[in-house]
Subunit: 475 residues, 2 copies
């Protein structure tokens, strides 16, 4: 450009087009210059190895990734999660044993476990009668005679600490479209409960009542009623202000109204039946332990598809957050569990919080929970933020997913289907991390829930998974 051209340029009104950093545009605007800001970021946040992995996959793959993902999505969308009954973990969960304790998230050794997970395991040992006191339980847990494993390795999921022991009752949820099954314990309510790391006498007593009365009553009522079609119920609750993870008031209400006519007809003492119905009414989160295995058996059907970059597991153990990809079955990619940004119960704050924990993020993995927050604007009273934030969270998730659910629809978005089937390539490419809402446990064993909020999963888990996926599938 010669001087004349330059002079000519600056003699005309100038408009700036700003790419990337918003602050540059703000400075220009503050100086009175017309400026258009484009919210651009380099792919993979500029990470060279991740960008190279995306490039290698784009250049050519050994399999048809799009076809593989289409098959994964087809399986997720055609799943038919159905509650078929309740059983004892030992009798139903594959590989369950009396010396085995299952926990949430990727596998983790006792020495690396966070406070609430340790607390829940100590409570589990007391519940099983293997320890008499918390001190005994702690010694036993660290002795090496008790085995630990991830729920996910046993077709199971568990909220928060996710502790499942041999003699706990579990929901049995079958995916009728594919024949696979998932298991989950029954929800204990909020406050001082095992899954948040509490193990006091009231916790153990409640667990025993759940085994001896709650589970048999529900099991008999379910047998009398017939199986519960969870796909239809989840579709309904998304039209009733639930999002299927941390707001479950509608879901719990529907389970109560569907089972109550059969509970009332059972040949059991009336005070026992009344106690069951009172417990359900007092516990809005009861439905969570039904959405979780429903989501689990839904995404499990899409696992192990050669060439699919769809995420089929996300899970946290309070120490690490981990994901698994459909096309890389059995491999966990992990990063440090995040700190939850949320609302705290009176008397508690971030200094009391454990890190992100639990398998409940299986709901987001299947396209509900945080991904469906636009359906549940009132959830912001529980997890923080504004209703507009809730809508924006959902809208953002369409950018990292492969499909929209035809059954799970969001009325406020003109009945648009929930964003479903997270593609790890899109997560890394856009830098948009899956939106997860979650409860917050106290960091020490024995205390319980202290709040709820939103949490960011660690970027490197997705980056590492993508690179391993490219290593396996790029030409």
């Amino acid at each position: 450009m010669n001087n004349t051209a330059i002079n000519e340029l600056f003699s005309k009104p100038l408009s700036a087009l700003n790419l990337g950093l918003q602050s540059f545009a703000d400075n220009l605007a503050a100086a009175g210059a017309p400026v258009v800001h484009v919210d651009w970021k380099p792919p993979a946040g500029g990470d060279t190895a991740a960008m190279a992995a995306l490039d290698r996959l784009a250049a050519g793959a050994r399999v048809d990734i799009e076809a593989a993902n289409a098959e994964a999505v087809r399986r997720i969308l055609s799943a038919k999660p159905t509650v078929t009954g309740i059983g004892l973990a030992l009798d139903t969960v594959p590989g369950m044993a009396t010396d085995l304790i299952l926990h949430s998230g990727p596998p983790v050794a006792w020495k690396d476990m966070c406070g609430p997970m340790r607390g829940a395991i100590m409570g589990g040992l007391i519940y099983e009668g293997l320890a008499g006191t918390p001190e005994e339980a702690e010694r036993l847990a660290s002795s090496g005679t008790i085995r630990f494993d991830s729920c996910h390795h046993h077709d199971a999921v568990g909220p928060m600490a996710g502790v499942m022991t041999a003699h706990m009752p579990v929901w049995i949820v079958e995916n009728k479209a594919f024949g696979n099954t998932a298991y989950c314990t029954l929800n204990e309510g909020l406050g001082k409960v095992l899954r948040y790391g509490a193990y006091g006498p009231e916790v153990i007593e409640r667990l025993r009542w759940m085994r001896d009365e709650l589970a048999p009553v529900l099991s008999e009522a379910l047998a009398a009623r017939g199986q519960l079609d969870m796909k239809t119920i989840i579709a309904q609750v998304l039209q009733m202000g639930d999002e299927g993870h941390n707001r479950n008031r509608a879901g719990t209400s529907i389970v109560i109204r569907e089972l109550a006519p059969f509970i009332v007809a059972l040949d059991r003492p009336r005070d026992q039946l009344a106690k069951v119905l009172s417990f359900l009414n007092a516990n809005d989160h009861f439905f969570l332990n039904l959405t979780m295995p429903s989501a689990k058996c839904t995404v499990d059907a899409a696992a192990g598809i050669e060439g699919s970059s769809i995420i089929t597991t996300m899970a946290r153990n309070g120490t690490e957050f981990g994901i698994r990809l459909s096309g890389l079955p059995g491999r966990w990619f992990t990063g440090p569990a995040g700190v939850v940004d949320g609302l705290y119960l009176p008397g508690y704050g971030p200094e009391h919080a454990a890190r992100d924990i639990g398998d409940s993020v299986i709901t987001e993995t299947s396209g509900i929970g945080g991904f469906a927050m636009a359906a549940a604007p009132a959830i912001v009273k529980f997890v923080g933020g504004s209703p507009a934030d809730a809508v924006n969270v959902t809208l953002r998730m369409y950018e990292i997913t492969a499909a929209e659910n035809d059954a799970y629809q969001i009325p406020a978005l003109d009945f648009r289907g929930t964003p479903t089937g997270i593609d790890v390539r899109k997560v890394v490419d856009t830098g948009i991390l899956p939106a997860i809402n979650t409860g917050i446990a106290h960091k020490d064993p024995g205390i319980g829930m202290v709040g709820a909020g939103l949490v960011k999963p660690p970027e490197n888990a997705f980056r590492d998974a993508l690179i391993a996926f490219a290593d396996r599938y790029a030409k």
Copy 2:
């Protein structure tokens, strides 16, 4: 303006500002002219008498209208509707008698009643044992020996035909803040039911079962549980996708879960209790007959305030739509009942529809129902339109109301309170009519529900009320 100035004017680019008719702006825009359209309408739609009434009130009133309306709004917002029990209409409803039948809407004589109201009255006479056949019932109803009156004259409300006879069980809902009470029959479900004008044997049999089993079971369970705080429950259902008029799935669910623990403990045959819980579960509209008397006792407390232009009654009898103003107690202002614009059940269409009918518009009068549609986007599957329409309906209602409800909030509007307290001056001034969603009855007696939708009330009822209000209160 001289010629030079005119030439100067037309030598510059012209922009048009268009007031009123959109089509003028469209024509200019189509011709390529820049045009800004302002959606202006003359006050009171240009009606001279109505404009004069507004002017007379604006020029000065004999009382402080703003203070009177503030008091009306204070009473509406501080109401505490509470379900205290169930009784027989004859024993509880003021002025009820065995030769009296109450109906919805303003008073109407047998000869002027629409088909579904006649059908419901015939069914009511058969239910009471005063007639053996529909023919006998019709003769009796037209004979003059049976008296008819508006529910509203007896502290009562009834959906659709709103027929209440002496031996029907009724909800008793007390406004704990002001001590007044409202009554409403129990909801029969959808389809072939008395309130839609059906009177076949299954309708009568169901009504007798409701009297002999349903009402006693609910009454005993309620006594065991304690009174139901309807204000809290309605606040909750607005966060669960209900709007409190035609979407009641959440409300019905909450009533079930609150009562089930006490129903199960009653000393009655288990199959009787199971039938009650099954009936409730199968009838999502069960809650409507609780919101209606809750709304009725709420707005009734605001009736009879000298100088208040707040509307305290809206009601339809299928022939006429009528309103009453707080400051003109006892006077009905009526116009022809409208035709409902909505969705029809298979096999039916507008040619089968009765005109707008029922007292359920008491919900809108109290600031929920159509006024809260933004809280219930999924209702459009029942009444037609899009979720955006539902939001816009609510937003429009803020223009004709005096307050926003502090307890009844809409999550999607950032927890903004529902538009509450309709000011007849604003309705006439803006020409914005109250938004009402409603069921549609078949026009002939004996058939039942054929659809649901939105309906416009007649403008002249509001205009006539305003003029009467100005006659009474302008200086």
